[in-house]
């Protein structure tokens, strides 16, 4: 097992785990988004889906633990590598300019992965507190999932945090998605453009898709 520990603790191994966990979390985002989209189909369908899901106790437990592990690994590795990376340059430059084509916004998404990651983490905690643990706005006993979602999304903090969180998530993904492929060694001139575009498209779909729910809830419900 020595080889495994060594491989996983090397800089490349860490990036590999980062990439894999990131991509798996992307997979979760897709299913989550798909489930949420049922909100638009109708209350009944959404409630039906939610109940069916909650009946799968075993599956849910495994999925939750799995997600937690993925998330934890992703976050812990981010902390570890960021700290190492800071140590790799103890004194900063007085002036630092990029040699890449100027970024679209003030920053490249890749320059702010740590910040965007921290914001997304905050959002996820808020989201869990609201929807999973019901810590901030506990609803009445037996509330239907559809009503719960709409009610929670009317909360100004949830509303704002949700929109900001998913937009930053989109930014995180716009680098993270294609970056994961690079870390896994999946880079070839033939496919790079495609991976880049897919990454951007994915980031936009996730950000826009999720951001639409609170807006919909507040405007139409």
């Amino acid at each position: 097992m020595n080889w495994l520990i060594r491989a996983l603790s090397s800089s490349i191994g860490k990036k590999f785990v980062m990439g894999i966990t990131g991509l798996l979390l992307c997979g979760f985002l897709i299913t989550h988004l798909a489930g949420n989209l049922l909100l638009y189909v109708g209350a009944e369908e959404y409630n039906h889906y939610a109940h069916a899901l909650h009946e799968q106790k075993m599956l849910l437990a495994v999925a939750e633990v799995g997600l937690f592990v993925l998330f934890l690994a992703h976050v812990v590795l981010a902390v570890v590598t960021t700290r190492e990376n800071k140590l790799a340059r103890k004194q900063n430059y007085d002036v630092k300019e990029t040699k890449q084509k100027a970024p679209l916004f003030a920053y490249f998404p890749h320059d702010v992965m740590w910040t965007s990651g921290v914001i997304v983490l905050g959002f996820v905690l808020l989201h869990l507190a609201d929807f999973r643990l019901g810590l901030r706005n506990p609803g009445p006993e037996g509330e239907e999932p559809f009503d719960k979602a709409v009610r929670l999304l009317h909360d100004p903090i949830t509303f704002g945090g949700y929109i900001a969180g998913v937009l930053v998530l989109g930014m995180h993904l716009s680098h993270g998605f294609s970056s994961a492929f690079q870390s896994l060694g999946l880079n070839h001139p033939k496919y790079n453009k495609f991976i880049q575009c897919a990454g951007t498209a994915f980031a936009i779909i996730i950000a826009v898709g999720f951001a639409s729910f609170p807006i919909w809830a507040v405007m139409f419900q």
Partner: protein
Amino acid sequence: MSHETINLTLKIWRQPNAETEGRFEEYQLEGVSTHASFLEMLDILNDELIEQGIEPVAFDHDCREGVCGMCGMMINGQPHGPDLETTTCQLHMRRFEHNDKITIEPWRATAFPIVKDLVVDRSAFDRIITAGGYVSVNTGNAPDANAIPIPRPDQQQAMDSAACIGCGACVAACKNASAMLFTSAKVSHLSSLPHGKSERSERVLKMVAQMDDEKFGSCTNTGECEAACPAGIKLEDIARMNREYLRASLCSSGQ
């Protein structure tokens, strides 16, 4: 070749040795020909400084044609200055304007301690190569050069990667001071050639381990290294090294 001259303000990092703290100094330089190279501009400055009894600015250089990899400094925050695929020694003053202020700093990275002024110690790169950046073939062992045909695309690809000049601009540019582009260029060069295949697993495992030991940061795929590389080394090499590393870790008996 018509001549024009410009005046400059130079803000340069001065540090007497590794132990002493450094600081910036400003110098005025007048009448620099726009046909002079950046290093020639520093030569002119240094001759003036010596005449004033001030220690000249130490900087590394040798070939002055972009291939030895000796020169290298941050010029206004960019490794080797503003031009793409250009080393400091190939940068010419026609790239600057009259009365420009130019900030010049050494490469900054924990793995590249400053020796003096703009000179840094890049021996970490040598140690990465020593760890495995070679083909183990003793003199006299070789078969005829044409005995093993090498498909042209492979040879071209190997040459693209082998063009690395080891200047360290990739490390300097990277926000994590990572040496992945340098290390991957050698891994890519040798693993693309039939002669380098026998040791490919050992090589990548050892080189990456050494790279990590040297306290370089890790790669977060920002692409700054690629943009800063004067020799045109590509991010594909890093991906190739990642593949090689995974392959070696998971599927080979390499130790």
